[in-house]
Symmetry: C2
Subunit: 287 residues, 2 copies
DNA sequence: CACCAGCGTTTAGAAAATCTATCGCCTTGG
DNA sequence: CCAAGGCGATAGATTTTCTAAACGCTGGTG
């Protein structure tokens, strides 16, 4: 165990997560044979078979599962420690979803730059929530129904997520505000959360006139701005479009939701690196 | 970061913890030059200087400290996951101090074997408390003043640590039980805890007749059995010697202590692997 | 002040690990 | 039965890593 080849462990972890040696080889820029050999050698070193080779790919054995879990955890710890290595203390990385980036962060970039003139901000957009812990000088913004469960993090609820239906002022019917039932007969724009569909299901109203799907909220909102229909989105994403009159609210979800927007940062290093000040600034933007 | 050489990170971690490349090389069965080169290459890959080279060895730079902490953590996680790999489920490893092993475990080995006939027990004696977390099928026994703070562990207080002074029946003076003051004039045997010295300091009694130091409790107790003086030790270590009349109690520390003996095991995998049953058995041995 | 011991670095060449390319052997789905 | 998609084994090429020896620096010592 002392002399175990750690690089081989990483190769194994990647192969295991793909369930396929070829794809692992692609990710590692190696040939399939190389991956096969390294895993074979690792198994010899450990004295344990980690992968079951099938005709349709590889799968984990019981021992393999334990090993994979351990290696994955360890790599996550390592990555957390190493992301910020070599980074200056005046660099901060903000992790968030693409729509939050477009609709919330972008309109506030100037204000941010003014508030922290010496700080260099790096934005990273993710489809998935980060699998590792946040390092020093990293901040994440995520919607969810509860506090960040990661014990290495501190987190703070920024705002409730309240849904509103919005459309372009040009699209507006004269008889607004209208009931949900009328609303549902118009072209509906929704994102991957499929909030209109859920609403329809919950209310029991049937026949939908027109339903357009986008893979992210920002696109649905942009479609609404262009007058293609009615989008449904959290309030925090549309403030800017409302104040610039590109969108108008035509309906507010009466149903209270547990969901909120949260900000998380590393529990370690609190006090250093401006992080707390930035979190305070972010929170202040939500009043 | 993706392609970072993990083996080099381990070499760095070992070198950093020794503060000396030669000793790291010895531990790794490598030449000094090899260690030097790997760390150099790692620094190039990371784009950061990790070690400050001095005339008297190496020391960590600020970045190096962060990196070392991260790597150490990650390796601990990994080791925790891998120690038990390839181990059968009917193997259990017990970690404890050497005196606890000699004076508590040894006399109970038969009883243990009877209680768990199918189980294979591996004992590991340590000078220091384990730096990694316990894996599945590992149990640790440690004295301390509080619960095991490791969040990945469950733990249970087995008994209070009460100190008693003991000596061989042959050594016994006719006028026992005696006061502490008289006691302190006799040859005193103590271990690395230096409990007699603390007692003398606390009571303020001066001139000590004779003080013999041993590096572990079991040796002090064995010396007492041989009639060389009076040892001071926790009650749980001497039960066997008392009942076999090799030792007799001549004084009990009246001062209550927060210290206790604790047993810890992994929080994960609870329910599997007999671990709970073994912990129960251990606890039952303390009534 | 000269000298030595301890420690890190550099270099070239040797040794070992690792990779690629190919071929062979399954299994699965048409 | 054949083709496609996967994995394994092997041999030779390539790259990495190691050793050994010489070098340079620093601090202690007589």
């Amino acid at each position: 165990m002392r002399q175990l080849n750690l690089n081989a462990l990483r190769v194994f972890a990647i192969a295991a997560s793909h369930g396929n040696l070829q794809r692992a080889a692609d990710e590692l820029n190696l040939s399939r044979g190389a991956v096969s050999q390294r895993i074979k050698q690792l198994e010899i070193d450990l004295g344990v078979v980690l992968l079951k080779r099938g005709a349709r790919g590889v799968s984990l054995t019981a021992e393999g599962k334990r090993c994979h879990a351990g290696v994955t955890d360890a790599l996550a710890v390592l990555e957390t420690a190493l992301v910020s290595i070599g980074e200056e203390n005046d660099h901060v990385t903000l992790h968030l979803g693409s729509s939050t980036a477009t609709k919330w962060l972008m309109p506030r970039m100037d204000a941010f730059a003014t508030a922290f003139p010496k700080l260099s901000l790096k934005t990273e957009v993710h489809e998935q929530i980060l699998s590792r812990s946040l390092g020093r000088n990293e901040i994440a913004l995520w919607p969810g129904s509860e506090q960040d469960p990661n014990l290495a993090h501190r987190s703070r609820r920024l705002t409730d997520i309240r849904l509103v239906a919005v459309c372009s002022p040009d699209f507006l019917r004269p008889d607004w505000p209208m009931g949900l039932e009328t609303l549902l007969t118009l072209p509906l724009l929704q994102d991957a959360h499929r909030r209109w569909e859920k609403l329809i299901e919950a209310t029991g109203y049937g026949n939908v006139h027109k339903l357009l799907n986008f893979d992210r909220s920002a696109l649905a909102l942009d479609a609404a701005i262009c007058g293609h229909g009615i989008a449904i989105a959290p309030t925090y994403m549309i403030e800017n479009d409302l104040s610039s009159k590109r969108l108008v609210e035509i309906w507010v979800d009466p149903e209270p939701s547990d969901d909120g927007l949260y900000v998380s940062w590393s529990k370690d290093h609190v006090g250093e690196h401006h992080i707390s000040r930035i979190v305070d600034w972010i929170a202040s933007e939500f009043r």
